[in-house]
């Protein structure tokens, strides 16, 4: 899988909801190579940041040669990124890592928080074969529903406070959805505790599950070992290079 290191023009950098941005850049090489679940390393343009920022690929458009990312401002780097105007050139390294299995016939996506960003690309690539279960603290956090609706068959929502969809967590809604759905793959991206819970339920029902891990990274190329993890078979793996997508049983104890 060839990686590119390109100067990409920012086409759009728009706030979707408070603190969450949609960034679209022109990077035809990356658009061509990208697979759902992969990420890029963005260089914050103002030169004040030593490290790049890893961001999952949320969408690509092969006609326009653009790639899009959805990110939340969590620190100084993403705050600086949020100020970037259309027309600015941003250096992008990618696509990086390994993505989701594309062979599923009927996948169920389960996402929470910014984990819903890379799943969006997967939903799109699945061409209407997928359903999604999304969870948030409240209704405002589920602005994702309108992004997913055109791409999937069914959208299931949970909120912690019950302000929208079923009250509770995705893990509470999952058993019933799985029981009636005929899914052949569960793909989860979100907080690690959520993914662990989701993976256990999928495992119990005998459905394979992939999860996408998040870890602080340096190089993004498998060289610096900042993002090393233990796998269940006692090996050391790198989230950036061997992941970020893993089969759940590789990284979580599902018993």
């Amino acid at each position: 899988m060839p990686k590119a290191l390109v100067d990409a023009e920012v086409i759009l950098n728009r706030e979707l909801v408070s603190g969450v941005y949609y960034l679209e850049v022109e990077a035809p090489k990356i658009a061509r190579e990208a697979e759902p679940g992969q990420f890029v390393q963005l260089q914050i343009p103002d030169g004040a940041f030593t490290l790049r920022r890893p961001v999952g690929i949320a969408a690509r458009n092969l006609q326009t040669g653009t790639v899009a990312f959805i990110y939340r401002t969590v620190g100084k780097g993403t705050a600086a990124l949020a100020k970037v105007k259309a027309g600015t050139v941003i250096n992008v390294l990618g696509p990086l890592g390994h993505g989701f299995a594309m062979t599923a016939k009927r996948p169920l996506l389960v996402g929470g928080g910014m984990g819903l960003s890379p799943l969006l690309f997967y939903a799109s690539a699945m061409g209407g074969k997928a359903d999604i279960l999304m969870g948030g603290r409240c209704k405002q956090e589920l602005f994702w529903e309108e992004l997913y609706s055109p791409l999937v068959q069914d959208v299931f929502c949970t909120t912690d406070d019950g302000s929208y969809g079923q009250k509770g967590f995705t893990t509470m809604a999952l058993p019933e959805i799985l029981a009636k759905g005929g899914y052949d793959l569960v793909v989860a991206c979100g907080p690690e505790i959520m993914m662990q819970g989701i993976a256990k339920i999928a495992h119990k029902q005998g459905i394979p599950c992939q999860v996408s891990l998040e870890k602080r990274m340096g190089c993004g190329l498998g060289a610096c070992l900042s993002c090393s993890i233990d796998t269940t078979d006692g090996k050391r793996k790198k989230v950036c290079k061997d992941g970020p997508v893993f089969y759940a049983q590789e990284v979580f104890d599902l018993s």
Binding site: L5, T50, N91, A223, C224, S226, R236, K241
Partner: protein, 303 residues
């Protein structure tokens, strides 16, 4: 040859350019092969290798700081045997100088490692006596001139390869350290390793890094590194490999002028995986503009 002006030779090692990559920041080189012509580098100082596999430190291992970063990887590596059997054969196709960075918990271990690595595919051995992120060995050898000298002697006794000693900046007087390792027979000295530092997360009220402290690197350490290279260059005769925050050709030229025979690029590889090629080009342009035939002619010009 594309870089006639940049060609050099240090301790008998021919180098296409005086630009190397620093251990721990460039993997085994192969990770960067899509962005860098590895044969154009003076050498790749590969990820720190130990006798037994090491899993490194728990918890958060990297955090960005103003002008740089802190890391506490803790020498995670699969061990020298895996390196020799699996990694080294894979690197042959890149036609690059492989410099193996080694760490031991006793002086004898450095000797054992140096002997095991005395193979044709290895160009030189760099002794890491200054890793701030491991409890045993490491920093102890790096802060005591006698202990550092003992490590050099042990390594020299067990290999015919050029031996490079990597100095820690976390000492009162780096010149004393440099003189001690030169007297012990080091063929080259590389400097500096990272500066010991830390960060506290004000929300959790706990240190950010899993190992509490970490090594500071990046542009913020460059003035310290340059000063130390300058001081050491005045005091010793062995060639120096200067490193610490180099992220541009201008930075690299400063180190050469300060007396380094070559430079190594570290953290900047994270900011820009292709930065070493830009640095080679930039040094070449500088020499051309100044009508200087060889990079060797500017080494130590500021001394």
């Amino acid at each position: 040859m594309q870089d006639k002006r940049l060609f050099t030779s240090i301790a008998g090692i021919p180098m296409n350019t005086p630009v190397l990559t620093a251990s721990g920041t460039f993997g085994f080189g192969e990770e960067f092969a899509e962005f860098v012509d590895l044969s154009r580098l003076g050498g790749v100082m590969v990820k720190g290798t130990t006798l037994k596999p090491r899993r490194g430190n728990e918890g958060i291992r990297i955090t960005e700081t103003p002008g740089g970063m802190l890391n506490c990887i803790g020498l995670e590596n699969p061990g020298v045997e895996v390196f020799l059997q699996e990694t080294l054969p894979r690197l042959a196709k890149y036609n690059m100088n492989v410099i193996v960075n080694i760490s031991g918990s006793t002086a004898e271990e450095y000797g054992v490692l140096a002997e095991m690595l005395d193979v044709p595919e290895v160009a030189a051995i760099e002794l890491n006596v200054s890793c701030p992120n491991v409890k045993e060995g490491g920093i102890v050898f790096g802060t005591d001139p006698k202990a550092a000298a003992a490590v050099v002697k042990e390594a020299k006794a067990h290999t015919k390869k050029p031996v490079i000693l990597k100095l820690s900046p976390n000492v009162t007087d780096i010149v004393t350290m440099a003189k001690a390792v030169e007297a012990a027979g080091a063929d080259m000295i590389s400097l500096i390793n990272t500066l010991l530092g830390m960060e506290i997360n004000i929300r959790t009220k706990k240190p950010t890094l899993g190992n509490i402290t970490g090594g500071l690197s990046g542009p913020c350490v460059k003035p310290v590194a340059l000063r130390m290279v300058y001081q050491v260059a005045k005091a010793v005769k062995v060639p120096l490999i200067g490193m610490g925050g180099i992220s541009s050709a201008e930075d690299a030229i400063e180190f050469l002028l300060a007396g380094a025979s070559a430079v190594a690029v570290g953290t900047a590889n994270f900011s820009d995986p292709a930065v070493t090629m830009k640095i080679c080009d930039g040094i070449n342009d500088y020499l051309a503009q100044q009508h200087i035939e060889s990079v060797r002619d500017i080494i130590g010009a500021a001394l």
